[in-house]
């Protein structure tokens, strides 16, 4: 339990943390409440970007770079393309919630309480492990040695997704 407290005080000693946390939460709220889907997408990019900042504070540099490259770079561009290419979607007013909204908020809040409660009342072994000197180098070596099998299987997943996307998106000539 002290482990978690120490860990948190380490991270929150940095004033940048508060800025990033605020931007993350505020922009995430905008994503799910704004009436214009284009604005929501822009806010999502901001959320993903500030999460990348949080990763850097946690010394997960590789994750931060991957987050910026994949989510901020590729996924958000795709999202915006999809919105622009869908006719009139960008200008339409949308309602993002239905009659279940109070139940959903209640359940999410409950889940948040449970997560926080278990965070502070559990012995996390992972926190104790010392960080290697060069994080990215170690990850690279591990990916090519111990974890080479899942690393290669991911490329099959990509190929399958690629073929599937082409099949679904292709226009049929009859």
């Amino acid at each position: 339990m002290e482990m978690v407290a120490n860990f948190i005080s380490d991270v929150s000693a940095n004033p940048l943390f508060y800025l990033l946390a605020f931007v993350t939460i505020a922009s995430a709220l905008c994503v799910v409440t704004l009436k214009n889907i284009f604005h929501s997408a822009l806010c999502l990019i901001l959320t993903l970007f500030s999460v990348a900042g949080l990763y850097i504070l946690l010394h997960a540099e590789f994750l931060a770079v991957a987050q910026v490259l994949i989510y901020v770079g590729a996924v958000s561009i795709l999202l915006i393309f999809a919105i622009m290419l869908t006719s009139q979607l960008a200008s339409r007013k949308i309602v993002q919630s239905n009659e279940q909204v109070t139940v959903a908020i209640f359940v999410c809040f409950l889940f948040l309480l449970v997560s926080i409660g278990s965070l502070f009342n559990t012995y996390w072994n992972g926190i104790n492990a010392p960080l290697p000197d060069n994080n990215i180098l170690t990850i690279g070596i591990l990916l090519m040695t111990d974890y080479v099998l899942p690393f290669e299987v991911v490329s099959i997943v990509m190929l399958a997704a690629l073929i599937g996307a082409i099949v679904l998106a292709r226009e049929e000539r009859s």
């Binding site: 992972g126 492990a129 040695t145 111990d146 080479v148 190929l159």
Partner: protein, 487 residues
């Protein structure tokens, strides 16, 4: 230096390469030879089975790939369900999806490769990747009738639910990693034990992780209450894909559940987390599946929806074996899945051929089938009797084993519930037989299955009857899989 023994992943490598060969040869032949591509795929699956026999046993890739008996047993089930799904697909590849035959067969093979990797992994990252490789091709396959609203809806629904459940599962797995600082399941158990010895307790984070993993895998298995996607997806998807989903991908979920829980984290959790007994959680889910699946199936008029609810109930019976979580439990769950493979794939093959040739999936259309195509109707009757668990069909031996395991482990109430719901299930299975044999039928179309579909039906009937009368060899094989867990 980790050991890279490529020898034991030869079956997977071959099947992957074969998927590419199938896709390319479809392109190369300008999509003109539908039969050849289908036979090519079936041959590839059969050759993979032979390779599996010769290259098995051993550990490779730093424990990330284990070719133990559990993996081999389930790989036989995966290959069997892929073989039977492909065999019953010839009708639809001739007609409805003639522009994407190669991709259709290729994606089935990709998904099978994913299942094979999944069943061999005793490590969380490779397990998760295997699960993704299993499901991503299935999203596309479910939506393969692009001009059919129901099929597109099925694909989209399966995609959203699948992505959501993967996220839940991944969250649970990452919590486990945070607790134990390792992704290897056995090391994980040791680390948890060390933590427990050091502090005297572990804390609620562990429970949270376990609940999320059960929910994540529960979605893949369509366990109640995570089943709401199943009927719509099963109805909308092309029928051979529905069959593949209901057998192959469920067997994949089952093997993941066994690897993570049985004698791994589960037994540990039950020791530590008194009075919280994990068996009870799975037992409650199993009883919900048996009750809801069987009762909802009673009211269905569409054969695919009926089989969807029936498969929800069937997985509930498998879970009785999982709840027992001892030698007999693992043996019976594996054996049940093996028999279920023949009976369910066979029943779906009948539904596929019938749907192709009459254009109807309604149960009422089966009226008079025994007069117009007696052999075909007899096959369906065999599958229905096996799913209902009537001797001498395989389904009886399977249900008997599962219930015996449940009683031995002290879950008598669950077994009584299982017996009662099995009686309920008899009603809707027998209803099909009644419709085919006794209902006044105007059905005059003579059903004439293609050769591969006949092969699939024959395989199903022979499997159900032979393994029902002589369950010995398969039971012995299934018992060896329990040895993986140290029983």
């Amino acid at each position: 230096m980790p050991d890279y023994n490529l020898r034991i992943i030869i079956p997977e490598i071959f099947l992957f390469c074969w998927a590419i060969v199938v896709i390319l040869s479809d392109l190369g032949s300008k999509r003109k030879s539908p039969q050849t591509i289908g036979y090519l795929t079936m041959a590839g699956i059969a050759v993979t089975g032979v390779l599996l026999y010769f290259f098995r046993g051993g550990i490779s890739f730093n424990n990330m790939f284990q070719s133990d008996t559990l993996a081999v047993f389930f790989k036989v089930i995966f290959l069997g369900s892929a073989f039977m799904a492909v065999g019953s697909s010839f009708g639809i590849t001739n007609e409805r999806i003639k522009n994407h035959r190669g991709e259709y067969y290729g994606l089935i093979l990709f998904s099978t490769v994913g299942m094979m990797f999944l069943s061999s992994s005793s490590e969380l990252i490779s397990l998760y990747i295997g699960l993704e490789l299993t499901t991503i091709p299935l999203f596309v396959l479910a939506a393969f009738y692009k001009d059919d609203k129901l099929s597109v809806e099925a694909g989209l629904k399966y995609f959203v639910v699948g992505a959501f459940s993967s996220a839940i599962l991944l969250y649970g797995l990452s919590l486990l990693y945070g607790l134990t600082a390792t992704t290897d399941i056995l090391t994980m158990k040791i680390n948890l034990a060390l933590l427990f010895l050091k502090f005297g307790k572990i804390g609620p984070g562990f429970i949270l992780a376990m609940v999320m993993i059960i929910a994540g895998i529960g979605f893949k298995l369509a366990l109640v209450p995570f089943h709401m996607w199943a009927p719509d997806v099963y109805q909308g998807a092309p029928t051979p894909i529905t069959a593949f989903l209901s057998v192959g991908s469920k067997a994949a979920g089952l093997v993941a559940l066994l690897r993570i829980f049985v004698n791994g984290l589960w037994s540990f959790a039950s020791d530590v987390m008194q009075p919280l007994d994990w068996g009870i959680i799975i037992a409650v889910l199993a009883s919900a599946a048996m009750i809801l699946g069987n009762i909802a199936a009673l009211r269905q008029t569409n054969i695919k929806r009926m089989l969807a609810f029936s498969s929800i109930a069937q997985i509930g019976y498998v879970m009785v074996g999982v709840v027992a979580a001892d030698e007999m439990g693992v043996t019976s769950a594996g054996f049940y899945m093996f028999i279920y493979l023949f009976a369910n794939m066979g029943a779906f093959a009948v539904a596929t051929v019938f749907g192709d040739q009459t254009g109807s999936d309604n149960i009422i259309s089966y009226a008079g089938l025994s007069q117009s195509s007696p052999l075909f109707a007899a096959g369906m009757a065999v599958f229905m009797l096996s799913l209902a668990g009537i001797p001498p069909m395989g389904g009886f031996a399977a249900k008997y084993m599962v219930f015996a395991a449940g009683i031995q482990a002290g879950y008598t109430w669950l077994v009584i519930l299982g017996l009662l719901t099995a009686v309920v299930s008899l009603y809707y299975y027998a209803n099909i037989i009644k419709t085919m044999y006794f209902a006044p039928g105007e059905s005059t179309i003579r059903i004439n299955p293609s050769f591969p579909a006949k092969l699939v039906l024959l395989l199903g009937v022979v499997g159900v009857i032979i393994f029902g009368i002589f369950p010995g060899p398969v039971l012995e094989f299934a018992r060896e899989t329990a040895g993986v867990f140290g029983f």
